[in-house]
């Protein structure tokens, strides 16, 4: 009896310590800071926009993805995760012609990767819960929009054969994603859903 409850207590401590290290309650603070760092690294990668590439500019559709306003916290998490993954995917392409500093590129890529990791750790627990969130249509729509948008970017790069001008144009365009990321991250502040989920689980274990 005592040994069983002791085991459960130890397990709870282990889980809580693991969660508390990441502190999903304070995810928004971490994500905000990482957003800011990533954008700075992106800007530091290259210099001024080259004059000659002005003619090669194109509009990336849909344009209204920049007006994403997701109210639900869970939807925001999903959207953030998708954007970060897409960005990471873009910058995994051929960057040889970009004429950027290799260290800066690597730093940017690492930063993105960390951001994705932290977000996934906090999101995975929610997926296990299998709660159907209201407003799922909104998140699907947003997801589709985002997918289209980043497809356009990818197509543009392929078309321009990853030229320097193309990369510069893409760099300028991607820098506009970070304000959207910032707004979505601020949605994460309210509610400690993951923490509550774990708390419920531990309570069930203890009272059995």
């Amino acid at each position: 009896m005592i040994s069983r409850s002791l085991l459960q207590f130890c397990l709870m401590l282990l889980f809580s310590s693991e969660i508390s290290c990441l502190d999903c309650n304070r995810l928004h603070v971490l994500q905000t800071r990482m957003n800011s760092d990533s954008l700075e690294r992106l800007e530091k990668m290259g210099g001024n926009f080259p004059f000659q590439c002005l003619n090669e500019r194109t509009a990336f559709k849909p344009r209204d993805i920049l007006k994403i306003r997701l109210s639900q916290q869970e939807n925001a998490k999903v959207a953030i995760k998708q954007i970060l993954k897409e960005l990471f995917h873009i910058f995994n392409n051929n960057l040889t012609q970009a004429a950027w500093d290799g260290t800066s590129i690597k730093e940017f890529q690492n930063g993105l990767h960390q951001q994705i990791e932290k977000l996934e750790t906090c999101l995975s627990a929610e997926m296990e819960k299998e709660i159907t969130y209201p407003g799922n249509e909104t998140i699907l729509l947003t997801s589709l929009k985002l997918k289209r948008y980043f497809q356009t970017v990818d197509d543009f790069l392929k078309e321009k054969q990853y030229s320097q001008c193309a990369w510069e144009i893409i760099r300028a365009e991607i820098s506009r994603c970070f304000p959207i990321l910032d707004i979505l991250t601020k949605r994460l502040e309210n509610e400690g859903t993951i923490y509550l989920f774990f708390l419920e689980k531990t309570q069930i274990i203890l009272y059995e």
């Binding site: 800011s36 920049l66 144009i169 365009e173 506009r176």
Partner: protein
């Protein structure tokens, strides 16, 4: 020969001429108008003002065109700033042109000349990242040891938009410093409202503090702090704040009062002074009597038996009394009768009876006994005199004393006590005194006047015995009463026995 000479000469001229023309031709180019330089944008709350410096060798007037292009767009051509076309000013307001605030814009200034336009270098600018936020409008109100800071965010120069709408959340920093710039307290917080209030606490009262507020965003750290506003904090001493310590003091005193009341009820505290019990009063008297130095108080009476042979003396005692005395073998008391000489010459037994000088009871008892002998009053004159100071019993038997009377006397309690003949004093030393007394009395025997003799005897008596009432008048009287009564009782029993 001449042609050869003319040849080189013309060649030199040709060279000289060509040099001249080229220099002449290049003269206009020497006064080249430089394009505008040093483009800068002064942006505050999404109000962007581009300013530049004119190039050198400018001739007045100079006209400028401002052109810009947004990187997020797809236009091929530069856009012209409508308000700044052919302007002579050295600045241009691009607030309305830079609508897409998340995008990056490139600006360029053209100088309009008759020969063409001179383009300046380009200037890249991203409003979202580089505009300066603030200064906010700050209002201060003083409170005791704190300052109430009300901050109102500035309006953004954007169509139907505000800073909060653009950034969602803003971080603000309140810097509180003392007037002498010695203390600096930065307070960081975030807000999602256009107007908010913050109470800066833990300040010293009656001190001058200056407050400045700066606003910034997570992706835009450029900010302009507000101007320092100073205020004096109010004092802590207020009527409202005085109520609480007064209430606390009242509560504490009430608790103490209840505690003391409980003690009083429990009998631990006595307020009334209880009177001294009567039983214990004697201890005080004792105390009083002990401390009263009064040697005269000691008037112990001791009855002694002494045989004094005196012929002149005649005792009322007959043989019976003697026999009694002899037979008893114990301490007997023989009462000395008066000075009246009797026919009988008895053995000279002189009895000292020492009685207490203050024994009123004994005298009273003696009087009682005397009164019982009323039969003998004819023969004997019993005069009982009680002095104020002393109580003596005087027995003055008549001159004519018959044997019968004496016998009667002997049978009955012979209480003819003449205290004047009574000897008082130390048993060891009294013999001489008694002799003295007797001798004195002997002289005074012939005196018939009882009063005179009495007076003399009383005088002697008083001389020998200094009877004095003790100072503790009442106390000693009462105290010695029972003991004397005991003695008198004993003596009475003796008399009766005889």
């Amino acid at each position: 020969m001449m042609a050869v000479l003319i040849g080189p000469l013309s060649f030199c001229q040709l060279v000289y001429l060509s040099i001249l023309t080229t220099t002449l031709l290049s003269l206009p180019e020497a006064s080249v108008i430089n394009p505008p330089q040093k483009l800068t944008i002064d942006s505050q709350n999404f109000q962007h003002i581009l300013s530049w410096e004119p190039g050198s060798n400018t001739t007045m007037p100079t006209y400028y065109n401002v052109k810009y292009i947004g990187l997020s767009g797809s236009e091929k051509e530069w856009k012209m700033a409508k308000e700044c076309s052919n302007t002579t000013h050295l600045f241009c307001n691009l607030t309305k042109e830079y609508e897409e605030y998340t995008s990056t814009y490139i600006a360029m200034v053209q100088r309009v000349t008759e020969h063409g336009e001179l383009n300046s270098s380009i200037l890249e600018f991203s409003p979202y990242r580089s505009t300066y936020l603030g200064p906010p409008a700050v209002n201060l109100t003083a409170c005791p040891a704190c300052i109430n800071v009300t901050v109102k965010l500035p309006a953004a120069y954007l169509k139907e938009s505000s800073l909060i709408a653009i950034y969602q959340k803003l971080d603000y920093t309140i810097t509180v410093e003392s007037f002498d710039r010695k203390e600096k307290i930065p307070i960081k917080n975030e807000t999602s409202e256009e107007s908010f209030t913050y109470v800066v606490g833990s300040l010293r009262s009656n001190t001058n503090y200056c407050v400045s507020v700066a606003v910034a965003a997570s992706l835009n750290l450029h900010s302009i702090p507000s101007a320092l506003k100073c205020i004096i904090t109010r004092s802590n001493i207020q009527a409202g704040y005085g109520i609480i310590p007064i209430l606390n003091g009242g509560l504490v005193s009430l608790i103490i009062g209840i505690f003391l009341l409980g003690l009083y009820k429990g009998g631990f505290i006595c307020l009334k002074s209880k009177p001294w019990p009567k039983v214990l009063e004697t201890t005080n008297k004792l105390h009083c009597s002990v401390h009263e130095p009064d040697p005269e108080n000691v008037c112990s009476v001791q009855v002694m038996y002494k045989e004094v042979k005196k012929k002149e003396w005649e005792y009322c005692y007959d043989d019976d009394s003697e026999s009694d005395s002899e037979n008893s073998g114990e301490y007997t008391r023989h009462v000395i009768l008066g000075r009246v000489p009797s026919s009988h010459a008895k053995s000279n037994t002189f009895v000292h009876q020492t009685i207490d000088c203050t024994s009123a009871e004994s005298s009273s008892q003696a009087t009682e006994l005397l009164n019982s002998d009323t039969e003998n009053s004819e023969e004997h004159q019993s005069v009982i005199r009680e002095n104020e100071s002393t109580s003596r019993v005087f027995f003055h038997p008549s001159s004519e004393v018959n044997s019968s009377s004496t016998s009667e006397l002997s049978n009955s309690a012979c209480f003819n006590i003449n205290l004047n003949t009574v000897m008082l004093g130390d048993p060891d030393k009294t013999w001489d005194d008694s002799a003295t007394l007797i001798s004195h009395q002997k002289d005074a025997v012939d005196l018939q006047d009882s009063s005179a003799s009495d007076a003399l005897e009383s005088k002697f008596f008083t001389n020998t015995v200094d009877v004095k009432k003790p100072v503790c008048h009442n106390i000693s009287h009462e105290w010695q009463k029972p003991s004397v009564s005991d003695e008198s009782d004993a003596s009475d029993s003796e008399y009766i026995r005889r």
